[in-house]
């Protein structure tokens, strides 16, 4: 919303010493933020002048050498405009003048001295849309009666200041000069002046020649009046200038008046050329696929959701958004029907979102005050009579199904104090309400406040409290800490511990986007699930919610590798999404790890292999308390994106909770290792709390043994067999040598076993007995033999 200072000054006396920035800041202080505040025309040293002489420049085919009288002196100015000629009254930028295009300097143009510039409106910074055709051609020509040597911006009537507000969606009332006047009145404690609604109607009655028929609940108030014998011409300067300051292009007096009244009252109006309309206006919902050509000559295809104004045959306007082309007010229009109405704000919002956002739709969307609907139609008549020579036909067509009234709210000072946390007196509160234009009755126990319907945002006690806070000054509230019962706060310690553990292991945490391409969502998993997709994605690359995080981590790897950083050890903890078989949306916490390139840096450079990432996994599962409860298994949950020979499922308590392995060469040519654990599943298995175990005071006895076994026997198989046979005395198993292909298709695996009893020193014989049992068990189970030392 652009607020013209001159415009609002019609309704409130603002102290002339207030700068526009001070006004803007004061409005911000009560909750109305602004983007920009300043002069409408941001130029200095512009004066009016008269071209006394104009001759062609001797060295140019388009420049002119002019002698220009600026009142105090006659200046030589070189001008390139095609329309410059002797006798014109013009805008002169003196030497030193600051224009949007730069500063005017004294100079010589092709040998001819030039002491200033004759200006076009565009050079003054006026937006192209406000320029008249003649102003697009060259310098601006002032009326012949313009005095010489005066401030040209003033002479143009554009000596205005403007604030560009960014209003909150609840303050539809501020989309009007009157609303702004009330707000400023509350800030500066000034009364808002009355609006002139006076005109003389003729003795005829509109009902004799016209009728309205509202056929939809989406219109709560519809008023129509008729003005005849209008003269279409240019608007007076003040109307045009105020429209320009408000960002609206002047067209002709009649159209301008409808916009002017909308700006004043916040009520959008529509004028129809009565002679192209027939004698009935119908308000109804559009039919599906109904067509309407709007003012901008575009054919719009409508639906049941849209509201139209129609004659008995066809739609003639899209309610609240834009008029129809067929009944547009044009140069030859004589009689007009004035419409002032309230349409359903949600419907207008939907239609305008679909078709076009306009000044009108913006106001309908925010909700309107019925009193203003009446006020606007009367104001419209007053201005049409005054500036378009209209005769106003008596009577008004009226459909009123509106139930909006002044709000009536009881409020106590205690409640205000308790919500705002301030000390405020009853007198202060009453004064604030009165400044806002509310009516207050003091009932001792409470105040009864009547809020005029222009403030549709105020409905309940809390709304009134906000008003008190706004005008009192929210920032004057002094902060204190709440006095509350002392309780223990808490957070998810496990997730935090996991992150810190992995960072401590030298991994870098990433944070990537949840949204991924649909083509990738079923990768890196064998799980069967229905993916979750977006209705209206920003791009195809981000149209689906990820299930696995590994796609993202691989993308991060590729991104960094392309930048010559291929030593990547990263992890991420985030949600994976799917829709379950009952159609319920599910999200699970997942932890993904990716390792590639060198892990340790500097002196000891080593490339990551499967056993590194397995180490990370073991370290983490140990840390979380799952030691001895997990295993790696080759099963059908291993995704196709992993190398079939270098991958496994992570199984905890018999449940698949994740996968680990090397990326399949089809996915990555590099040696990239990944792991993903479903934390929601994993952490559903409870772990006992950590307990101290007595440290044995008695020494352990160590025995080494190496088995020669088939290549396909896994280390895990052997370890399990050893453990089973070793019983209670066996406290540790460590593989210390691996000799592949020691014989045809056989490998040697050497283990160091530790035997220990917490309560006594073991005898060598009993250890040997267990040791031999182990050897027997392994050799018979795997058809292994013990390798000779």
């Amino acid at each position: 919303m652009l607020l013209s200072r001159k415009f609002v000054s019609d309704y409130i006396d603002l102290d002339e010493n207030l700068t526009i920035n001070e006004i803007a800041e004061a409005m911000t202080g009560v909750g109305n933020e602004y983007d920009d505040a300043g002069s409408l025309i941001k130029c200095s040293k512009l004066v009016t002048g008269e071209v006394l002489e104009c001759v062609d420049h001797p060295d140019s085919d388009h420049l002119h050498c002019c002698k220009v009288d600026v009142g105090t002196e006659v200046l030589d100015i070189v001008c390139g405009a095609p329309n410059v000629k002797k006798g014109l009254k013009v805008i002169v930028a003196l030497v030193g003048a600051k224009l949007p295009g730069g500063e005017i300097k004294k100079g010589t143009i092709r040998g001819q001295e030039s002491n200033g510039m004759l200006c076009s409106m565009a050079e003054l910074g006026l937006d192209n849309k406000f320029l008249k055709p003649e102003d697009k051609e060259g310098i601006h020509v002032l009326p012949q009666d313009t005095p010489l040597g005066v401030d040209a911006i003033k002479a143009l009537g554009l000596d205005d200041e403007v604030i560009d507000f960014e209003l909150t969606s609840n303050r539809g009332d501020l989309l009007s000069i009157l609303g702004m006047a009330y707000e400023l009145g509350a800030i500066y404690n000034k009364k808002v002046k009355d609006i002139d609604l006076s005109y003389t109607a003729n003795s005829d009655d509109i009902k004799n020649s016209f009728k309205i028929d509202v056929q939809t609940d989406d219109c709560s108030l519809f008023l129509a009046k008729k003005a005849i014998n209008v003269t279409i011409k240019e608007s007076p300067e003040f109307i045009k200038n105020r429209l320009i300051a408000s960002g609206i292009r002047p067209i002709n007096n009649v159209v301008d008046i409808s916009n002017y009244v909308m700006l004043e009252t916040g009520q959008p109006l529509h004028y129809y050329d009565a002679n192209r309309l027939g004698n009935t206006l119908i308000v109804r919902n559009a039919n599906d696929n109904e067509k309407l050509t709007t003012l901008d000559s575009q054919e719009r295809i409508l639906s049941r959701e849209d509201i139209v104004i129609a004659d008995p045959n066809k739609a003639v306007g899209l309610a609240g958004v834009m008029g129809g082309l067929s009944t547009e007010v044009e140069e030859d229009t004589k009689d007009i029907i004035i419409e002032s109405a309230i349409f359903d704000s949600i419907k207008i919002r939907k239609t305008s979102k679909k078709i076009l956002r306009s000044e009108a739709s913006n106001r309908f969307e925010k909700g309107l005050d019925p009193k203003r609907t009446y006020m606007a139609i009367e104001r419209s008549c007053a201005l049409l009579e005054k500036y378009a020579d209209a005769t106003i036909v008596g009577g008004m067509l009226e459909y009123n199904n509106s139930n909006i009234t002044d709000a009536n709210i009881d409020i106590t000072i205690d409640k205000i104090k308790s919500v705002l946390g301030i000390n405020i007196s009853k007198e202060e509160v009453i004064s604030i309400f009165e400044r806002l234009g509310f009516t207050v009755k003091d009932n001792n126990e409470s105040l009864n406040v009547i809020v005029p319907s222009r403030r549709r945002d105020i409905k309940i006690v809390e709304d009134l409290i906000e008003e008190v806070g706004r005008i009192y000054g929210m920032d004057k509230i002094e902060g204190k800490l709440p006095v509350l019962e002392t309780i223990k706060g808490s957070y998810d310690k496990t997730k935090r511990a996991i992150k810190h553990k992995l960072a401590d292991l030298g991994l870098n945490e990433t944070m990537s986007y949840t949204l991924i391409p649909n083509s990738e969502v079923h990768k890196f998993t064998k799980d069967e699930f229905t993916e979750v997709t977006l209705n209206d994605p920003m791009s195809e690359d981000r149209n689906t919610l990820r299930y696995s995080l590994l796609y993202s981590l691989n993308e991060i790897y590729k991104y960094n590798k392309a930048r010559n950083n291929s030593n990547i050890s990263i992890f991420e903890l985030a949600k994976g999404f799917y829709k379950d078989s009952e159609g319920t949306y599910q999200e699970e916490s997942k932890l993904a790890v990716l390792m590639a390139g060198e892990y340790k840096l500097d002196i000891q450079r080593e490339n990551v292999d499967f056993y590194y990432i397995k180490g990370v996994m073991e370290e983490l599962l140990y840390f979380l308390g799952y030691e001895g409860r997990y295993s790696l298994q080759i099963n059908d949950t291993i995704p196709n994106e992993l190398h079939p020979g270098v991958s496994a499922a992570i199984v905890v308590n018999g449940t698949n909770v994740g996968i680990i392995g090397k990326l399949h060469p089809n996915v990555s040519k590099d040696n990239v290792y990944v792991m993903e654990i479903n934390l929601t599943k994993l952490l559903s298995f409870r772990t006992g709390s950590m307990k101290y175990k007595d440290v044995s005071k008695f020494p352990g006895i160590y025995k080494d043994v190496a088995f020669i076994v088939d290549n396909k026997v896994t280390s895990q198989d052997i370890e399990l067999a050893i453990k089973k046979a070793g019983g209670r005395l066996l406290t540790n198993i460590q593989i210390f040598d691996l000799y592949p292909n020691i014989e045809d298709n056989k490998k040697s695996m050497a283990y160091k076993l530790c035997f220990q009893d917490p309560s006594r020193t073991l005898e060598d014989e009993e250890v040997m007995q267990v040791f031999n049992t182990i050897i027997d068990s392994v050799t018979s189970k795997f058809n292994a033999k013990v390798r000779d030392k």
Partner: protein, 349 residues
């Protein structure tokens, strides 16, 4: 006898001068105090003496023996020290050579920010409450007083799920945690939570990412006021952005709070003097807050006549951008290893 002793002493002092290796000490010990050393020799004829004489001679011999032992062990220590020093000298290394580097991990800046917020609020008795990222329209909008068609929905262009328009969405604000926390509270009693988390909106440029993070706070009790809100936010902003940070309230509008405020903090770049970051105002808008709207309380089962409370929500990414001086939000989600590995040391306390 005395003369003998004096001679021994003199001879010992002389001998000591030429001693310079451990073997010399062994030899010296043998010569003087060993089984057949000259001092031991002095006692050989003792048995021929009278008791009185034995006493006198014994004393003298002991004295010289102690004298010799002292001198020899001092010298021995000297020599051992010299040997040790020589050994240490040989072992000395170039301590300026590079270390054996230990791989350095890092936590994402968002994690660091979240933990900072969590630690602060947990210390004030708040519980960290995590809601789902996939939310119903009811929880994300309707129960926050944003009915279908409400103009406030404009500001949050929402990612609805396929076939679920105005039904299910990726949450566009962590404010939905207010609803979740109130609904989860079976006694409909006091609440003190913060909810950090990811949120999603259809928006993407240097300062907006379609995925970003917010933290929501909610305190509900019988006597909670805007003053409590301000005090809490003052503590929070000082902790996150520095002790000198000041907080300013400006009235504003959010459908789920009434009264509502926008919260500005003094510009951390210029300290409030005015600079390009704060557009010369000295203030930067960082947060929206207010008193929970009575309709929002009612919709989640609270009696607004008994309970009132405040809520606030702020962008964690923006805070991180301020705190770590990150100019483009897309850097945060770019996952360039050269960016993320920088977050590997502790923050200033």
């Amino acid at each position: 006898m005395q003369e003998n002793i004096n001679n021994i002493k003199e001879s010992l002092v002389r001998d000591l001068e030429s001693v310079n290796k451990p073997q010399d000490i062994v030899d010296l010990k043998a010569k003087y105090v060993g089984k057949s050393g000259c001092i031991t020799e002095l006692t050989k004829n003792m048995r021929d003496l009278s008791i009185e004489e034995k006493k006198t001679v014994g004393m003298l011999v002991n004295e010289v023996k102690n004298y010799a032992n002292d001198l020899i062990s001092k010298k021995e220590e000297e020599i051992n020290n010299a040997i040790l020093n020589e050994k240490l000298n040989k072992e000395s290394i170039d301590i300026t050579l590079p270390s054996k580097k230990i791989k350095r991990g890092s936590l994402h800046p968002m994690t660091r920010m979240v933990e900072e917020f969590e630690d602060l609020f947990v210390s004030m008795g708040f519980t960290v409450f995590e809601g789902p990222e996939l939310e119903s329209d009811e929880n994300c909008f309707q129960k926050l007083n944003i009915p279908k068609g409400h103009p406030a929905r404009d500001a949050q262009d929402t990612f609805y799920l396929k076939d679920e328009v105005e039904n299910f969405l990726l949450r566009s604000q962590t404010s939905t945690a207010q609803v979740r926390a109130m609904e989860a509270n079976e006694e409909k009693g006091p609440i003190r939570i913060v909810c950090p988390g990811k949120v999603y909106r259809r928006d993407e440029d240097a300062t907006h990412s379609h995925q970003f993070m917010q933290i929501e706070g909610l305190v509900i009790d019988k006597n909670i006021s805007m003053a409590d809100l301000k005090g809490t936010l003052e503590v929070m902003m000082k902790r996150i952005l520095g002790e000198k940070t000041q907080v300013r309230f400006r009235p504003s509008f959010f459908p789920f709070t009434e009264p509502s405020v926008e919260v500005d903090v003094t510009c951390f770049k210029c300290g409030g003097k005015g600079c390009s970051l704060c557009k010369q105002t000295g203030w930067i808008e960082v947060l929206g807050a207010g008193m929970v709207h009575p309709d929002v309380l009612t919709m989640s089962g609270y009696d607004p006549k008994v309970y009132q409370g405040f809520a606030f929500g702020t962008g964690i990414d923006r805070m991180a951008m301020f705190k770590y001086n990150i100019p483009d939000i897309r850097t945060i989600y770019g996952n360039d290893i050269r960016f993320i590995e920088q977050f590997d040391r502790k923050d200033e306390d």
